[in-house]
């Protein structure tokens, strides 16, 4: 087993004594594609910035390629690609000059890749950054994150301003990176269906904590919607284990529960004297149920 690219333990961050992230631990292995979900203000950007070492942790820490992320040597930094939520492009430059500036920092910049993607994504390299649309700027920003073929690619809301065609092209590029098997991607997104397609690991941030992490299959098996049907009216004080939401209507009841295991079904059916049907939810439904 190769060592993880990223490993965080008890990670926390407070701004002026106000916690924005607490007690977060995770690992990212080579080949992982991690989708980070969370409502606005859940701490996604702070988490990514801690991983990148842009800001020191106030508790715990993150290791990136085995180094403390806040004290990364240059050679390790060259293995990271980052696409920020708000681009850091220079308005006065043309796209080509902007690429030139960034590429000069990286000894192994892939001109062929960047040229080909600029062409496919219809990024006009002669255009000045200030004249570009938000979507064009985002595309350019993604190109800059990919150009040095980083081992770890971190993207904060990379597709927010992209049209459906550009978004699909972007997804394909992430798949290219993931197909390598030795590179990792961590991306936050509000487009849950993209996360569902791309990620093999999902992190859900809620109330400044890592609420759930793991692969999609185990998330789907663990958070389910139960439908109970009884012949006699079900008691008002229904005991569903770890219920998030319960709706109760005479002889039927519906509950979304977490920590579900298939072997619990028979026991619950007996306990409620009801027929129990287990419904598996989409990632979007799970996310919404968690935030009701």
């Amino acid at each position: 087993m190769s060592s993880p690219y990223i490993a965080a333990r008890g990670l926390g961050k407070s701004f002026s004594g106000k916690p924005v992230l607490a007690d977060v631990s995770f690992v990212v292995e080579p080949g992982d594609v991690v989708g980070v979900l969370g409502k606005n203000g859940a701490g996604k950007t702070t988490l990514l910035e801690l991983v990148l070492g842009f800001t020191p942790a106030t508790a715990g820490g993150v290791q990136l390629f085995g180094y403390d992320s806040y004290r990364l040597p240059g050679a390790a930094k060259a293995r990271i690609g980052f696409v920020p939520q708000q681009d850091e492009l220079v308005n006065q430059l043309t796209a080509a000059d902007q690429i030139g500036v960034i590429s000069s920092f990286y000894p192994k910049w892939d001109d062929e890749l960047v040229g080909r993607l600029a062409d496919e994504w219809e990024v006009d390299l002669r255009q000045r950054v200030k004249n570009m649309s938000v979507g064009q700027r985002q595309k350019l920003s993604i190109l800059l994150g990919l150009g040095h073929r980083p081992d770890v690619l971190i993207l904060d809301e990379p597709v927010a301003s992209l049209d459906p065609v550009a978004r699909r092209q972007f997804l394909e590029q992430i798949i290219e990176v993931a197909s390598d098997g030795n590179r990792s991607v961590v991306f936050s997104s509000h487009i849950v269906s993209d996360v569902e397609r791309l990620a093999n690991k999902i992190w859900i941030l809620k109330d400044r904590r890592m609420y759930w992490q793991g692969d999609f299959d185990s998330l789907k098996d663990s958070i389910v919607r139960l439908h109970a049907r009884a012949t006699r009216p079900l008691p008002a004080s229904l005991a569903f284990p770890n219920a998030l939401n319960v709706q109760h209507d005479g002889t039927t009841a519906t509950a979304v529960v977490q920590g579900w295991r298939a072997e619990m079904q028979a026991g619950l059916a007996q306990q409620l004297d009801a027929e129990i049907e287990v419904e598996h939810l989409t990632l979007e439904d799970i996310f919404l149920e968690l935030h009701r």
Binding site: G31, I175, R197
Partner: protein, 114 residues
């Protein structure tokens, strides 16, 4: 499609990367699917070459397992029959008629209706 015989044995499958790109899904998902189908004997892994549809070895799968695989299809028929307000007898008769019209060869000739 491989299991139902729409893809004859020996058909080459797209690479993991190509299939992942085509559907914009994580390559590990495709890889998992291929591995599952390989374990079920539907696909064959070939060193350094694309995976192929395996020759049917379904007779080696236990009878009860094969019946289990059939169940969802039968359920569809039963549900459709009920929605059309047909009786159990009508449904069984319809199945028998179709059964008699088909033979071993039609398994491989079959194309997707619709």
């Amino acid at each position: 499609m491989a299991a139902s015989g729409q893809l004859p044995p020996g058909t080459e499958l797209p690479s993991i990367r190509d299939l992942a790109l085509k559907h914009a899904i994580n390559p590990m998902t495709v890889s998992k699917v291929y591995a599952l189908l390989e374990a079920e004997g539907v696909l064959e892994r070939n060193r350094g070459k694309p995976m192929t549809v395996a020759k049917p070895t379904r007779t080696q799968t236990p009878h009860d397992k094969r019946l289990e695989q059939l169940e969802p299809h039968v359920e569809q028929v039963a549900l459709a029959a009920r929605q059309l307000e047909l009786t159990e007898k009508d449904a069984v008769k319809a199945l028998q008629e179709v059964w008699e019209k088909t033979d071993e060869q039609s398994v491989h000739r079959r194309t997707r209706p619709r």
